[in-house]
């Protein structure tokens, strides 16, 4: 079973994502902001990260840059999942090392399509 770290400050979004990911046979770990997510990654690197952008304490893009600096931190497949839907944000995410990008609102079909595109399914 593959593991996915869900990073979002909204409890509701985390719950929706968790439900979809369990259906896709992922084990999940959750974090409410980038700092928590980074702590989780230092304990154990997940196979995938579903990542919000705007969060308190540490935002998604700063987390991603820190993650990529960790030993083995280039391995996890990072999929942004955010309301930011302009080219500039998407471009910035790709440059920082994101593998895919979901624009909210999303549903299980989109998440599934994106995860199979990056080879997670």
């Amino acid at each position: 079973m593959k593991s996915c770290l869900i990073v979002d400050d909204s409890k509701v979004i985390r719950m929706v994502a968790r439900k979809i990911l369990h259906e896709l046979s992922f084990t999940t770990v959750e974090a409410e902001d980038g700092q928590q997510a980074l702590d989780r990654c230092k304990e154990a690197l997940p196979d995938a990260v579903l990542l919000d952008w705007n969060m308190p304490v540490m935002n998604g893009i700063d987390f991603l840059r820190e993650l990529r600096k960790l030993p083995g931190g280039d391995k996890p497949v990072v999929v942004f999942c955010t309301t930011e839907n302009d080219i500039d944000h998407i471009q910035e995410a790709i440059t920082a090392g994101a593998n895919e990008y979901i624009m909210k609102p999303f549903d299980s079909e989109i998440l599934q399509a994106k995860f199979s595109q990056v080879g997670l399914l």
Partner: protein, 283 residues
Amino acid sequence: MRPEDFDFIAKLLKDRSGLVITRDKAYLLESRLTPVARKRGLKGLDDLVASLRTAGEDLLREVTEAMTTNESFFFRDIKPFDQFKDVVLPAMLKTRAAKKSFRIWSAASSSGQEAYSLAMILKEEAPKMPGWRVEIVGTDISNEMLEKAKAGLYSQFEVQRGLPIQLLVKYFKKNNEMWQIDPSIRAMVQFREYNLLHDLKSLGQFDVVFCRNVLIYFDQPTKGRVLDNISKIIPDDGFLYLGGAETVLGISDKFKPIPEQRGIYCRNLGGASAAPSGFGGVR
């Protein structure tokens, strides 16, 4: 709905587009044709059928179009497009090296995602094929879908189904809430109306044909007839793609599956060679 009304519409649809509609799908007529009736100021389906019996071409066409299922997405099923890049395109580059050109047909192109996916692949591979000319033609029976395809405008939902984010950034621009495909990609594809039930010869020859997710709506004899017609415009070393739920087996002996390349078919030229010449990718 009265049985004779159902039979009348079912026959009309089958004659015009090949669509087979069975009685258990009568609710589809309700849900898709009631809006057409309303638009014409008619009360409902019964009135629509009454006017259809004496209707002119416009209304018949509108009803036929309204009954088509147009769902499509970019790089649908992924694999066929990987195969195009890794197997079919290299075969074309080899067998067409002398004239440096070939033609691709998206035979039920709907809103254009299939044709544009191929255009994006060709654009990405362009450095490998200097001086080549590839023509992509998309056809459909639905004018509404053809207009959408030509405009190249897609919703946020549509660009997230199958399109890799790198290609979105590279080839699309945001236009209010919609995403529009780049003019350079749009210029690679021509869209025009064409009914698959008609004689296909006037379209010319196509080296690669994508005929995906449309035969499923037809009955066996119609599938067979369309496949036979397609075989007449594909050269002996051409390729045919069908959708994931479609096959030629038991329907037409003009094509046969290509071993290890699921969903791709080549001409069946009497059982001699297993694959078209220049087809080096398999085995």
